[in-house]
Assembly symmetry: C2
Homo-oligomer: 145 residues x 2
DNA sequence: ATCTAATGATTAGATATCAAACGCTTTCAT
DNA sequence: ATGAAAGCGTTTGATATCTAATCATTAGAT
């Protein structure tokens, strides 16, 4: 009798996320802050809505994080002159500094997480997770194969 | 360049958990309520602390859930005469009824989640998740293999 | 016997997240 | 040109969770 897969998944994710958050906290950040920063740096940001979507939180929640990051001097927000509905979010110099520290912590954590896993294992895991996401996507929800 | 594994995991878990919670909500419950009930039914419960541990939440959080379940008539709490520190938690008749409905929903969801996954895939996933949990366990935290 | 430490559960306070409502800006149809 | 609809971000209110402090009970030591 295999264990219920959703349970297994969520408990594992909880453990891993908490450990990651602790690692980032030691470097002076947090998981949401890290996700926001790396999205700002790598992806070519469109709007805050897209940013929230990319990191898997709600727009309202993102606003809170940006508020504290702004008052902490990590980012600036200004209206885009071309489209005054959108806020352009940018890292300040202290923000860049923290980003580098968090990046180091994230890399270290990731290698710790991969211990004992072959490249093939990682690919397999990635594919399995993708399949699970598909299976709970809203379209064609029940339909038994 | 492989995607960061922790991210992949947590986003998937979030999607799956939310979908599961929606399914349980349609059956009149929620994820924590379901976890509490199934733990009460299957595992031989020791204390609330153990119960909380088993379902991966904090004792204080469990208290809140038990409060609402009790006022909703799903469970009863009484002091154990043998050790008056512990609360003996038991399902009421309406509680048993809801349990059965949630069990149906959970089974349906699980089969939906397993669509397109061979038994070998499930075993592999289980093993990979276990490995990840090990890798973030507090003992021997950094040590590169 | 009594004092101290440990244990089980609850309560209080803080934080994080979400959903819904709102305000401003832009787009588009007429 | 103007009015309706949609888009973007923020605010508000509710919920869930955690940590720390507290109350009551039990176990252990002297």
């Amino acid at each position: 009798m295999p264990p219920p897969i959703g349970l297994d998944l969520s408990q594992t994710a909880k453990s891993v996320s908490r450990a990651f958050d602790r690692a980032l906290a030691e470097a002076g950040g947090s998981l949401p802050v890290w996700l926001i920063m790396i999205s700002l740096k790598t992806r070519s940001l469109g709007t805050q809505r897209e940013l929230a979507e990319a990191i898997g939180i709600q727009g309202a929640t993102l606003t809170h994080h940006l508020n504290s990051m702004e008052s902490g001097g990590l980012i600036t927000r200004r209206r885009d002159p071309a489209n005054r509905r959108v806020h352009v979010v940018e890292l300040t110099e202290p923000g860049e500094l923290l980003f580098r520290r968090l990046a180091d912590a994230a890399v270290a954590f990731d290698s710790r997480l991969r211990r004992g896993l072959a490249p093939g294992d990682l690919e397999a895991l990635h594919a399995l997770l993708a399949r699970l996401r598909e299976n709970v996507a809203d379209d064609a929800p029940i339909l038994n194969e």
